[in-house]
């Protein structure tokens, strides 16, 4: 059982490194949110594997808390990002964001 847990933990470590590369490279912040969700799932799986290795149920509330934090954090940051769309995508693709942006800016200019 110990060897199985160690092999699985090694796979999770590789997965975490790949996900961290994706978080660093982006390109947009929504990709980073998706990647951080996966990173938290990898952490949950790692805690579960450590719990298997020690054969203890002490870490089970930690799994619950991590799952809830992943959800609340992801939803909050996504809502925040959908407010200011310009900063959300530093890599470009401005042509398509402009089309969505235009009605808003026209409204505010007429109002002022």
């Amino acid at each position: 059982m110990n060897a199985v847990a160690l092999v699985a933990l090694a796979m999770l470590a590789v997965a975490a490194v790949i996900v961290l590369v994706r978080i660093a490279r982006g390109p947009s912040n929504l990709d980073r949110i998706v990647a951080s969700d996966i990173l938290l799932v990898v952490v949950i799986a790692g805690v579960a594997l450590e719990s298997v290795r020690q054969r203890t149920a002490t870490y089970l509330p930690l799994l619950m808390v991590l799952g809830l934090v992943a959800f609340v954090g992801g939803v909050a940051v996504t809502r925040f990002l959908s407010r200011d769309r310009d900063d959300a995508d530093p890599s470009g693709s401005t042509g398509r964001t402009e089309r969505a942006e235009r009605p808003d800016s026209a409204d505010t200019q007429e109002a002022s």
Partner: protein
């Protein structure tokens, strides 16, 4: 009540297989996240470890611990993950569509654009 030893070792082996499968699904999701080209397909790769991968890991943990307290807690963890993962994925997909980072020519069905035309231009929706 005594449990035969062969049953315990079988449960341990099943739990080990489940744990390895879950870790492999996490790895597959991470590789998909690194290799897929845009946000929506990365979202597709992300759902593998989020639901099936986590469920299999929790099943392996339950098969290893074999107490009712652990099984009920793990059911709670799995149920919250199954309920919350679609919500956050839906929000991310919608936000990426409104950002304009979705290539609309590749979509087969596009009902959100009609809904957005009928709505007012509130960007926070």
């Amino acid at each position: 009540m005594t449990v035969p030893a062969w049953l315990l070792s079988t449960l341990d082996a099943l739990g080990g297989v489940c744990l390895l499968l879950g870790a492999f699904l996490c790895l597959a999701g991470a590789i998909g996240l690194a290799r897929f080209p845009d946000t929506l397909s990365r979202l597709h790769a992300a759902t593998k470890p989020q639901t099936l991968g986590l469920f299999v890991v929790l099943l392996g943990l339950a098969l290893t611990l074999r107490t009712w307290a652990a099984v009920t807690t793990l059911l709670l963890v799995g149920a919250t993950q199954f309920l919350t993962a679609p919500v956050s994925a839906h929000l991310v997909g919608r936000a990426s569509y409104r950002n304009g980072s979705v290539d609309r020519d590749t979509l087969v069905v596009d009902e959100l654009s009609e809904a957005l035309e009928h709505s007012d231009s509130d960007p926070t929706r």
